[in-house]
Symmetry: C3
Subunit: 220 residues, 3 copies
């Protein structure tokens, strides 16, 4: 949930790019909460709570599991202000949604965030000495848990568990690719980029082509 | 959730007053869970679980976020016994509710608890070196998260998000007042009292006059 | 959730027995999530998430409350693979369920797990210096919280709170027995066994005879 990719050797341009993606992705994740909360006719404080949780619960869960402090949003309070600004601007944002344009942009931002947050989660877990399978899981949790919490608070079965779209699956495939490349000596910088592109790309393809995963087991 | 107000210089009378409020507030918070759990026809263990969570989840969430141990209810096990006693006395307590008298008392106790727990949460967060906006949020979480967890366990959208009453909003206003007074050099003792009175007073006014916050955005 | 019983002086046979119970119980707990998730028509990732949480959320909650790291499933990643194998084998497992045979086996495994996980939870809490009443609660949380989380994710009121079967109650009685025997100088080894047998035995009797706990209060 923060720029904890192994980017020490990375060019300034890349850092700027990653920060831009991070901000865009946080907005996309927060937006999903904002939309859901307004749909439930919440007041402004409820809308803020659900929006905040959608954006930050994933990274927070990862950090509680790894016992890391301070949390991302504690260290970077500007992200709290970003969410506050979004909630205050909700009337404008939701109206612009009706133009249909915002949805497409949000899908791309969400897909990029999925990639970035997964790989950052896997990286942090690996640095903390977690076994590979745990690191892979923590990557997915970082990317997906915000949405799960959002749906629990809105009294729904988590969308990612029941909408049969490849979402968490994309994070697992890309996380695996990242771990594999790392393992075979590819530079952290390159394997990070490959992982992010794999996750975001798969997700965008899945949305574009309407890919579905069946119920499991199929005949249940 | 515990007497972690900066009260070193405070007179004995005030300490006694604050302890009394703390006990009354814990009872009020627990009572909200007790009522909700009995409404859902739970057995005695379920009633205890929901009652306990309503009283202590807020302070526990704050302490997990700040990585503080032991928890309030671990250090003060008499509060666990208080909740056990309440659950055992539930038949009596719920009968007395029908007289209508208890509800008024509970509203006052709840409002006082809202103030006390918010300010104690903000204080603890400030002492832990949190940024102001984070301290403000942790204050509200301390006061409100028990009710959120209660409603999630009872399979409802959290009441504070959807009932459009000023509740969390009161904690934010009073927390802000406390932080502001602190900042301008007012003694912790006085600013704590001002914050608590502001929150509890606003909450009681909101209940008395039936104040409502609209959905956000208004035309959603 | 792990072999943290005070078994240093215990014979090899007992250790093997306890490990066998632990594996069987993890399977039983996971199975309850697997069944619930497939009932909700989730995809394979959702099924895995709910299955995993059913098996490990109890021990994880205990460890977050006690601030212990690494978690049981981080230290013993073979349990993650076990759950993955179960999810992949779900079509077979669910078909064999229709023969009716598996349900009985699962009930026994679940009852044994209830005993083992409770006593391991109480032991860990006592070693961590928790007060007795807190240790008792953490034992129950270790055994029961996985099921609570499973039901919250599946958008149901937790089954253990509303099905009126003695479940958590068994953990409390057996945990109390364990603490009492410990207190009166009985060897940890013997008191552990007594606690586990008490919990598992009570649970199996409750299932066999269809024991019910009434709503609380009775006339609510």
């Amino acid at each position: 949930m923060s720029l904890q990719l192994p980017v020490s050797t990375v060019s300034m341009q890349l850092t700027t790019l990653l920060t831009t993606i991070e901000i865009a992705a946080t907005i996309a994740f927060a937006m999903s909460g904002l939309i859901e909360a307004t749909r439930k006719k919440m007041d402004i404080v409820g809308v803020f709570s659900v929006t905040f949780v959608s954006a930050f619960a994933g990274g927070t869960a990862r950090d509680v599991l790894l016992d890391r402090r301070p949390f991302f949003w504690v260290e970077n309070t500007e992200y709290i202000w970003l969410v506050i600004a979004m909630v205050l601007a909700a009337p404008l944002m939701l109206r612009s949604r009706k133009l249909g344009l915002t949805d497409k942009v949000m899908e791309v931002a969400d897909a990029l965030g999925l990639g970035l947050f997964t790989i950052s989660g896997v990286s942090v877990a690996l640095v903390a000495g977690m076994p590979l399978v745990v690191a892979l899981m923590l990557g997915s949790i970082t990317a997906v848990f915000g949405g799960v919490t959002r749906d629990v608070l809105c009294n729904e079965i988590p969308k990612v568990y029941r909408d049969h779209q490849p979402y968490t699956l994309c994070t697992l495939i890309g996380g695996l690719l990242f771990i594999g490349l790392n393992h075979f000596g590819v530079s952290p910088h390159l394997s990070s980029l490959a992982g992010i592109c794999c996750i975001s790309g798969l997700r965008l393809l899945a949305v574009a082509y309407g890919w579905q995963i069946p119920s499991w087991p199929r005949d249940a």
